[in-house]
Amino acid sequence: MTNLSPERQRAMLRRMITIRRFEEIASEKFRSGDIYGVVHSYAGEEAIAVGVCEALRDGDQIISTHRGHGHCIAKGADLNRMMAELYGRADGYCKGKGGSMHIADFSIGMLGANGIVAGGISIITGAGLAAQMDGNGAVAVGFFGDGASNAGPFHESINIAAAWKLPVIYVCENNQWAVNVPALESVATPNVADRAKGYGIPGIIVDGNDVFAVHNAAVDAIARARAGQGPTIIEAKTYRHRRHTERLDQPDARPSEEVNAWLQEDKDPIQRMITTLQMQEDLLPPTVLENLKTVVENELAEAVSFAEKSPFPTKESALQDVFAE
């Protein structure tokens, strides 16, 4: 299923656990009032961000959605600055100006979360254009949801990328719902990947909760893109573990049997990865797994404490950064 080294496999598992625990803490801190506004949890979809980003190299770029924490972590963002941003503090990635829906780290090629559905798709296409003009083989990856695939910018961007053979990989995280609307009612075909036919590009469907399947699909699409053969749509079938946002006053229309089924160990991307690794001898002895979880826990405790200690931004700083000097 994969020929990644044991180290890389464990590193991927660690990132997936980091994302899950980050989201759990974010939910908790949202409810305790330390995090404001809105939080969209990526729990349940970790295999996609991690599977794809593991296939990238330095200089490659990604863009995210409103559900952005997982993409940040998978691309290597700093947990302290992420948590501080959620806490609205001066040491956050955006100096407290962005919050959950607007975390970016341009220095690592993470071009940002986005509060507008499909808002990032054309931006990452432009990053792909820049990469093509640079001619250094870099690629750009746009993450977006099944809901976003029905929006105009999806079409305009993928059509241009296909016509211009831009090195962009469009990764649809099909978690089967857009807030309370099922994808099957919104997307005209059963699969978002079917759309690829309309652009003459490959449309690959993968089990989005199988990190290696995702990774393999990403490796192929990225190789294609680096070779100048143009874009690919990867549709990763998945499910979100939690309601649309952490706001409890918003209804969740998903049938509870459906939700429960996806919460089981045989569906959970992290449990599945652990099982897979454990099936290979010596790859993930219990102590290693425990150790890894402890490391993650410590890192996140450190991130929370970093955030807590960081000051709120001075009010005058609200008027800074409107324009670059």
């Binding site: 503090r89 407290g96 829906m101 607007h102 001075t314 005058e316 609200a318």
Partner: protein
Amino acid sequence: MTEMKELSYVDAIIEGIAEEMVVDPKIFHMSTEAPRRLQEEFGFPRVRQTPIAESALTGMAIGAAAGGYRPIVDWRLVTFCFVAMDQIVNQAAKIHYMFGGQTRFPLVFRTTVGGGTRRAAQHSQSPYSMFMQLTGLKLVLPSTPADAKGLIKTAIRDDNPVVFFEAGRLGGVKGPIPNGDVSIPFGKADVKREGKDVTVVALAWMVHEALAAAEELSKQGIEVEVIDPRTLVPLDIETIRSSVFKTGHLVIADEAPAAASVSADIAARIVEDAASFEALKAPISRVTGLDAPIPYSPSLEDYVFPDRSRIIEAIRRIL
């Protein structure tokens, strides 16, 4: 006197819509998230949940209106309507005129404006002023449940495209709702409090801040008149002008940024008219959002938006 019931601002709007939907089978409602009460009361096909395609929804409403329906499209947060801006600017606003008035386009676009929810720049906007440049749209911005209910009914009955801006911060605020058919005409400002010393024109959430400021200043002997225009197009400048004749002082309070805004427009209209220009005893003062996108952190967001204390400062500055 019949007893009045209480409803929240949002529930009042939904009740207004529901009442109209009962009466007129041509009304239907589309949005990416359907209001639960409407869904339960009317169901599909009159209440539709849609793909995330606000541009298509907006255009579809126009086409359905041409076919004799009275569509209501809820864009939800106003920030989502920008993907539909071509349909708003180039189609909805101009279609009646462009085709020489051949047919009617009874449309309501609902949308939520305003900040204060810690949802950062994209999700905290109040861009109604931008729509004022688009001749051909009626624009509503209520500040109380009763006004909201009364104006949504008028909006639905109007034969033109109406953008109905709902103040997010007021969504849960309760207020009395008169019984009976409570529709409120467009273009009639409401004097929310009478006063003789200074006129404060306030919009949406700022109406309540202005009333709080008036209460405070009243204790110090300053009587503030608070006027809520309620509709931006048509704008009832006459009521504002009359108040300025009385008070000689004008403050305009709006959480949107000042540049090229309704607050600028009201100021300009007052000083363009010889009589109201003469009546002014002091500079006009605007109390608006500061010149920045809306930041996330509470310490920042609270600084960017105006409030009662800034209204009080502004009044003091010109009195």
